[in-house]
Assembly symmetry: C3
Amino acid sequence: MEFSVEQIASFLHGEIVGDGSIKVNNLSKIDDGKPGTLSFLANSKYTNYVYETKASAVLVRRDFTPEQEVKTTLIKVDDPYACLALLLNMVDQATRPQKIGIEENAYIAESAIIGNETYVGAFSYIADNVQIEDGSKIYPQCYIGNNVKIGKNCIIYPGVKIYHNCVIGNNVIIHAGVVIGGDGFGFAPQNGEYVKIAQIGNVVIEDNVEIGSNTTIDRATMGSTIIRRGTKLDNLIQVAHNVEIGNNTVMAAQVGIAGSTKIGSQCMIGGQVGFAGHITIGDNVNIGAQAGIPNSVEANSNLLGSPGIPIKEFARQVVLTKRLPEMNATIKQLQKEVEQLKSMLSENEGK
Amino acid sequence: MEFSVEQIASFLHGEIVGDGSIKVNNLSKIDDGKPGTLSFLANSKYTNYVYETKASAVLVRRDFTPEQEVKTTLIKVDDPYACLALLLNMVDQATRPQKIGIEENAYIAESAIIGNETYVGAFSYIADNVQIEDGSKIYPQCYIGNNVKIGKNCIIYPGVKIYHNCVIGNNVIIHAGVVIGGDGFGFAPQNGEYVKIAQIGNVVIEDNVEIGSNTTIDRATMGSTIIRRGTKLDNLIQVAHNVEIGNNTVMAAQVGIAGSTKIGSQCMIGGQVGFAGHITIGDNVNIGAQAGIPNSVEANSNLLGSPGIPIKEFARQVVLTKRLPEMNATIKQLQKEVEQLKSMLSENEGK
Amino acid sequence: MEFSVEQIASFLHGEIVGDGSIKVNNLSKIDDGKPGTLSFLANSKYTNYVYETKASAVLVRRDFTPEQEVKTTLIKVDDPYACLALLLNMVDQATRPQKIGIEENAYIAESAIIGNETYVGAFSYIADNVQIEDGSKIYPQCYIGNNVKIGKNCIIYPGVKIYHNCVIGNNVIIHAGVVIGGDGFGFAPQNGEYVKIAQIGNVVIEDNVEIGSNTTIDRATMGSTIIRRGTKLDNLIQVAHNVEIGNNTVMAAQVGIAGSTKIGSQCMIGGQVGFAGHITIGDNVNIGAQAGIPNSVEANSNLLGSPGIPIKEFARQVVLTKRLPEMNATIKQLQKEVEQLKSMLSENEGK
């Protein structure tokens, strides 16, 4: 797959400065540009790289004016980053496996209903009464339990396990090793032992959700654990039973959410954050990496630390905690001085 | 599966207040009750929901006396929560896949011994000399390595991987994606590189243990990594080589335990807690979420924080850390005042 | 597999003190020694166990002189720990499954190239244009995506998933459930929703790397996520897109590394540490468990805490934070005393 700069510029409605006949076959970052690749300048911080990059061509803004000699070919476009995203997507479509059909050695229960233009890879197990709608791809070695419903145009990567009765919407992407619908962690203490509370609910994943590798989402005790439309979960995240996450919330890797907690829409959650159970996080909340959230949080909050506090307060705490040795020394010095003052005063008194 | 309220009341030795002929087919939480479901009131905090719930029937305590009109049917029982647990279990038994037999496309070594009333799902791999006792279920896509022994009535969910020589007791539940018996993390530094120390031990899981999705338990260097009877591990937990965890200890998700650490019985460990290696945690220890435990801990301790300290002390630290800006201002004010006092005094002296 | 102490001593060039005809069939730790096993004394802290161990024989240093009666047989060698590592390796070689060949029920694309003396287990999926070199073992239920290249003498344990275009070097060990090459977590906000940025790069794992169970390593947006030669990653670690980790760096379980961060060579990273994205960590850096690293770190640093600070500074902070209640009381006491001094002084003034 090779394109000339002319072809790309024409496709992106761009303007060529330099040799338009040169060919590229991949994309690169401008600080890591290689001959034969097309790079891009989206952040002015990287402008210097335009003059030294080895990339064969670089996407720049229409108003870019070089301040020294440029050896690479420039393609001037309205929005280099948007153009890049478009090209990344094209390359990805052309290189990612695009299989259709049911591979030999897949197990498909007779009662399962599989739509058109779907793919079911070898060694995948499609259990009783599963419904998979048009255009969805199930890679090899997945387990789709009884009565699971998967919407249209989903991609389920290898080795995903979805327990019985869970519901997956449309355009959902689930990466390898994800487990959906494992039993919630519920036990009743009884004579010093723990008796399992059966978990009869399910997990509902709405449209346009993406879930990263090896993340686990437990089924509800009763009702549903819900991930709402457009939310993106990174790798190795733990979502406990009866949790609900709103729309278009983004969570970095290794976040843990304890049972029955509700998280709002449009939130941004950093890596390794932990949420206690049975709390409510409002919309538009930002929580920094490694924070611990023991209580409910109002909408539009920005928290950091464990326990989480407003980011500005946290920053001040960090500074003052660093100054503790100094504060401690000052207190001791003050004690001495006060002692001196006292003795001076009592001497004065005595006079 | 539909039951009349009369049938359920009779089964639970309950007393009906309202229409006993009404039918229910599922269970619900009282704040999320739907028509056709049976709900329950176990916690008096939720009493108000009894008057507004849409659930068709509600389990309440025998001594419950409504303070306003109740539209739903009540079933009065001795212990609503225990009755609920019983019903949850019945619904679960009726809806969870209950397969028996060896599915086509399972690989079973000739030397493996498989008991009666067992299930081995498609694409599972049962290696040489494996022993699986009566009533155990191995879901699809599991790997059971050489010489592994699995006791009676275990449930091994899809995609579990158990390396060679590990031993699983009776009534053990292992959720999807769990890895048992991977090599302990042992390396000897040698000329700036690391040489692998072979890990020849195994993992022993005793009776009645439950292990959550994608948790990893490493094999011992020599001897065994041991999880004792009745202990419950949540998802994404890391148990390193030669760790031992006592009886009936409960651990929330994403806990990490470094090598050779021993944890007692009846402990409760919050999510994302980390334990250093080669330490000993006593019995009945409670450790709050995200704590870091660098040293051994005495029995009956309650710790929080990183490094972990007694919970009360931690709470006081949090309060005082918040007050640092104020303390800092007070110290500065004191410095000024002491300076003033000194200069006043020296003036006095001078008089 | 049973050996006499004489055979072992001869193999290790050791000197026997006691009965050389006694037989052993396994290795044990000296504080957990069982009859029929060979133990070792590498750390003088454990010397007392030599006199009471039930192990049939114990490896000791040549200069070891008992201070009381020894009941077990001693084998005196130059370096007991090195001898142990050698024996562990021998036992491991003898007991770990050593299969060769392609098992029935493995899926191998016609275009895949599989070297000599390799193993491909049942239910593994080897996609188009995969190349697996001599001596590598792919256990059951692995997924090796299009164009993946695996070098010589690798061990890929059951259920590993490697997405298309990734490259694995020689002598690499990857434990069960690892996911390599899942999409990096990249989204562009657009009208309150997130649009996926396609991830067209790959993952490169160099020679002699070992990766623990259920760890996830995401593919680069463009270019490569790289784990360099000799680095060892423990279980449940998250490596985001475009991360680079240097040579011979060791990371304990549950570490998380955000996108584009570069980590040096010869670093030691404790469990549950988190790294922010787009930062650079120098060589020979040690970071203690649970630390949070928001900014770049110079070579040879030793950090602890969140945010991470030099270990000594952290230790002092911990001590002083514990003393906060005392400091607070002292400040209040000083306030009182200064008030008293002031009023005494103003009385004096008044005289």
